[in-house]
């Protein structure tokens, strides 16, 4: 049995204000094995980005707070590390890339300055060695004219190149885990295809595990080994990617799949999920999806369902769907 690289148990991240408590992440379990690509799917406000910021301990301060849980990475609980110890982990063992490369890169530092910053912090290299390592990494991620681009500034590059620079920056210390939060959402499709391909190459050549956060089920189908669907701060379905697309069980997952138009087949009308996501400051008592769910029964509004096993490695937070193979009305 392979040891997990990252294990999250019952993570709860709340935003605590004067009179409100926003339960952004509300009891998440997540396991990532080495070289695995785990996709977290969900819509805005589902808590997927806050989960990743919790792992990195980069929550907006002072209101964002991890109120309970454990995040075990390489045998240590990240939540118990001091800020200094955490800095040794960030960018070195766990790195992160973001949706908008223009806001994530520092506009007044050259590309070279930004990539070497992590090397100078985590590796015993001098500046010249660091620059040559940066150039090497830029070439690896497919940046043309790498030796010149290290001396250029972010604004001189296109969106696709900036995202490659971010990946180079994230990968230059060869981290064991890469967290990518909507890394291709701002990119054009042909550039998205290049970046997704590059991420697969990172996993192949550096054996990096990847947590990929996305709202795009197409990207999930392309990349994921394992998928977790989030809704209202909780996981509603967790299963390997093949089973997710072959046998989605949670009514929300199924509704999401029915709502997207297809490139290949014609659909007359799209399924549309009525209403909007619940407010994280005042979740309903019962199931958080009940008011939008076609299968909802009175009991759904009273008791919140637990995440339960519905098939081999297939967890679903719903009492109203049958187990795998039992056939589900909908």
């Amino acid at each position: 049995m392979v040891e997990p690289l990252l294990e999250i148990r019952d993570l709860r991240t709340y935003f605590i204000g004067k009179d409100v408590e926003v339960r952004a992440v509300d009891g998440i379990d997540l396991t990532v094995y080495p070289r695995q690509i785990v996709c977290i799917v969900g819509e805005s406000g589902s808590g997927k980005s806050i989960t990743s910021l919790s792992i990195m301990r980069l929550l907006p301060q002072p209101r964002g707070k991890i109120v309970s849980g454990q995040i075990t990475f390489g045998g240590q609980d990240l939540l118990k590390l001091t800020e200094d110890q955490m800095t040794d982990v960030r960018g070195n063992e766990i790195s992160m890339i973001f949706q908008e490369p223009m806001t994530a890169l520092n506009p007044v530092l050259t590309i070279g300055d930004q990539i070497t910053e992590v090397l100078l912090r985590h590796r015993k290299l001098n500046r010249r060695q660091a620059i040559s390592k940066a150039v090497e990494m830029l070439q690896f991620v497919g940046v043309p004219r790498a030796a010149e681009i290290v001396h250029e500034y972010p604004h001189q590059l296109s969106g696709g190149l900036r995202q490659r620079v971010m990946i180079a920056m994230a990968m230059v210390c060869e981290p064991k885990l890469l967290i990518a939060d909507e890394p291709t959402t701002a990119l054009d499709v042909t550039i998205q295809a290049q970046v997704l391909e590059l991420m697969k190459k990172m996993r192949r050549d550096f054996h990096t595990a990847i947590i990929l956060i996305t709202h795009d089920l197409g990207v999930v189908a392309d990349m994921a080994d394992h998928v977790m669907v989030m809704y209202g701060g909780q996981i509603v379905e967790s299963v390997n990617a093949d089973d997710l697309f072959a046998r989605p069980l949670h009514p929300y997952t199924k509704a999401l799949m029915e709502s997207i138009p297809s490139l290949i087949e014609e659909k007359d009308t799209l399924y549309s999920i009525p209403g909007t996501v619940p407010d994280a400051a005042s979740f309903p008592t019962g199931c958080r999806f009940a008011q939008r769910c076609p299968l909802a029964q009175p009991s759904c509004f009273e008791t919140a369902p637990e995440l339960q096993q519905m098939g081999p490695g297939h967890l679903v937070r719903c009492d109203k769907v049958g187990r795998e193979g039992e056939g589900v009305p909908m």
Partner: protein
């Protein structure tokens, strides 16, 4: 020269010009690049370079392409919010390219726009009822009571409640704001709606609500849409015909089923194969284009796509291919087919 061919191929139907709600002929938009103290022009960004197409009443034309291909610029010129450098826009039998002042104001209610960002496109200081009623007030269409009644009807049409008219945009979610934007576009009884990335900023579940609403409204009000988007699946869902733009040019256009099943242009083919399909089995081989879209201020000679095309031939580097009909209604600008 491209447009010449287009005009020729359409010549046999020229006596039926009246059957089109909109005809765009050889439309160009060149943005000058200026330099120096005196802002003299040193070159041009050819954002839209010789684009021609037509739209029938009740039809939805999708325009797809990546950032900078000129799809939004085309939409804005049709809306007459951006002056074309040259070309002609014929709307409902009338040449509107050079209309100004009162004549333009009179025809404006007939074509309306829905924008991408429902947060930026609604005035935060106006109540929803004022926002939706404004096109009517501006165009003196109806008394106060009539406008008020129309606003209430429109709110219900787009799935909001009558009492929402007294609330302000910030009180609504993204999807609801997009409904408000649609109600505003509908208020003056338009014939044409140009929707520019109208669902791109929305979550998947909300996106399908808005798409279904737009399909229902098209039937109810006999609208025509120009649906501009980078999302190929969304465009396929809503359109009857689809045009593909690249670097200011229309490179392929055809009925959607035909275009998606049998893409002709190597760019369309790459674009379709690059879009990830939400399924695990039976996915198609992906064509990964190398490099970025060239700088539109310095476009390549010949075919605009030749720098990234896997099937490039010598002629592609010298001569720009013209948009020509390949099979019934399916047009392509590529030397492979000439």
């Amino acid at each position: 020269m491209n447009g010449q061919t287009w005009t020729n191929t359409r010549a046999e139907t020229s006596e039926q010009v009246g059957e089109y709600l909109l005809e765009v002929r050889n439309l160009k938009k060149y943005f000058p690049i200026t330099a120096g103290l005196l802002r003299h022009t040193t070159g041009y960004v050819k954002a839209v370079d010789d684009v021609s197409f037509h739209l029938r009443p009740g039809e939805t034309l999708g325009i797809v392409g990546e950032s900078g291909c000129g799809k939004s610029t085309t939409g804005r010129m049709i809306m007459r919010v951006l002056e074309p450098t040259s070309g002609q826009i014929v709307f409902d039998g009338q040449d509107i390219t050079d209309l100004r002042g009162r004549a333009l104001r009179e025809i404006r209610p007939k074509f309306q726009m829905v924008f991408q960002d429902p947060y930026a496109s609604l005035n935060p200081k106006m109540a929803v009822g004022e926002i939706i009623g404004e096109p009517l007030a501006v165009n003196h269409m109806g008394s106060r009571q009539q406008v008020e009644q129309r606003v209430v009807d429109l709110l219900e049409t787009v799935g909001l409640r009558a009492e929402d008219r007294n609330r302000y945009p910030h009180e609504f979610s993204g999807g609801q704001r997009q409904r408000i934007g649609i109600a505003r576009a509908l208020s003056a009884n338009p014939k044409l709606i140009v929707a520019d990335e109208a669902v791109s900023a929305l979550d998947v579940s909300i996106q399908s609500q808005i798409l279904n609403l737009m399909v229902a409204l098209r039937k109810e009000f006999n609208l025509s849409y120009i649906f501009i988007s980078h999302n190929l699946a969304v465009v396929r869902h809503i359109s009857d015909r689809v045009g593909v733009m690249y670097l200011g040019h229309l490179v392929e256009m055809g009925p959607k089923g035909e275009l998606y099943r049998h893409p002709l242009h190597p760019y369309t083919e790459a674009l379709l194969s690059a879009a990830p399909e939400p399924k695990r089995v039976g996915r198609r081989e992906r064509i990964i284009l190398q490099g970025d879209v060239p700088n539109p201020a310095n476009p390549p000679q010949g075919c605009p796509f030749h720098t990234r095309c896997a099937k490039v031939m010598d002629i592609c580097r010298i001569q720009r291919p013209e948009l020509q009909e390949h099979v019934g209604g399916h047009f392509v600008a590529c030397h492979l087919y000439s």
